[in-house]
């Protein structure tokens, strides 16, 4: 196994190589990387991998880590059954 094959997003099984490749296409934000590679879009919603992705993004784009903002935080913060989600009021004002 090479370094490129190391899994970064454990849920969606996205490798370091796949993330680096995506960044080379010109992506600069966590949201973009997430949308293109699906890293952070799995069941846990990036709870384990987001730091790793941020580090890769910073390194690949030659920026300090603090210049990489985390991806947008949206509810729910935890796994929520779809039935519960559906029962929520449609507008949370």
């Amino acid at each position: 196994m090479t370094d490129k094959d190391v899994i970064i997003c454990r849920c969606e099984e996205v490798t370091r190589g796949e993330i680096e490749e995506a960044i080379r296409l010109g992506l600069t934000t966590m949201n973009e990387v997430k949308r293109l590679t699906r890293a952070g879009l799995g069941l846990c919603q990036g709870k384990t991998c987001s730091r790793l992705v941020a580090d890769i993004l910073a390194r690949e784009t030659n920026r300090p880590t603090q210049d990489v903002k985390p991806s947008t935080c949206r509810p729910p913060t935890r796994v929520m059954p779809i039935g519960v989600l559906a029962s929520l009021p449609s507008d949370s004002d």
């Binding site: 454990r10 849920c11 099984e13 799995g42 069941l43 846990c44 709870k47 384990t48 935890r78 796994v79 059954p81 779809i82 039935g83």
Partner: protein, 112 residues
């Protein structure tokens, strides 16, 4: 392996024993504990296999965050076993991929 006696915590006061059905085999568990510790104590490490690479996964954070330890519990997939307490007669299956919604083996009703 259970930690029966401990230099600081003393002798364990185990809860009542209950039985889980895990992939068709009975596994002993202690009332009040999460599914994951019952399985670990029974010597089980693999809780699921992943979608793409079919890799084994088990307990990783034990806090209910990482979702690596999810299994199909009473017909419902993606149940975090590290924070879900056991119940006598619970039916637990190794989750393969995203898991499958099944009919509850307990009540016969459709879950979800």
């Amino acid at each position: 392996m259970r930690v029966g006696d401990h230099p600081i915590l003393g002798k364990a006061e185990w809860g009542k024993k209950v039985t889980l059905m895990v992939d068709g085999h009975p596994v002993e568990a202690l009332e009040g504990e999460p599914i994951a510790t019952a399985l670990l104590a029974a010597g089980r490490r693999v809780f699921r296999y992943t979608t793409k690479l079919k890799e084994p996964r088990g307990v990783f954070c034990a806090l209910g965050r990482c979702t690596d330890c999810v299994m199909v519990v009473d017909g419902q997939p993606n149940v975090r076993t590290c924070v879900t307490p056991v119940r006598d007669g619970m039916v637990i299956e190794t989750q393969v991929g995203l898991g499958q919604w099944c009919y509850s083996k307990k009540t016969g009703e459709k879950k979800g």
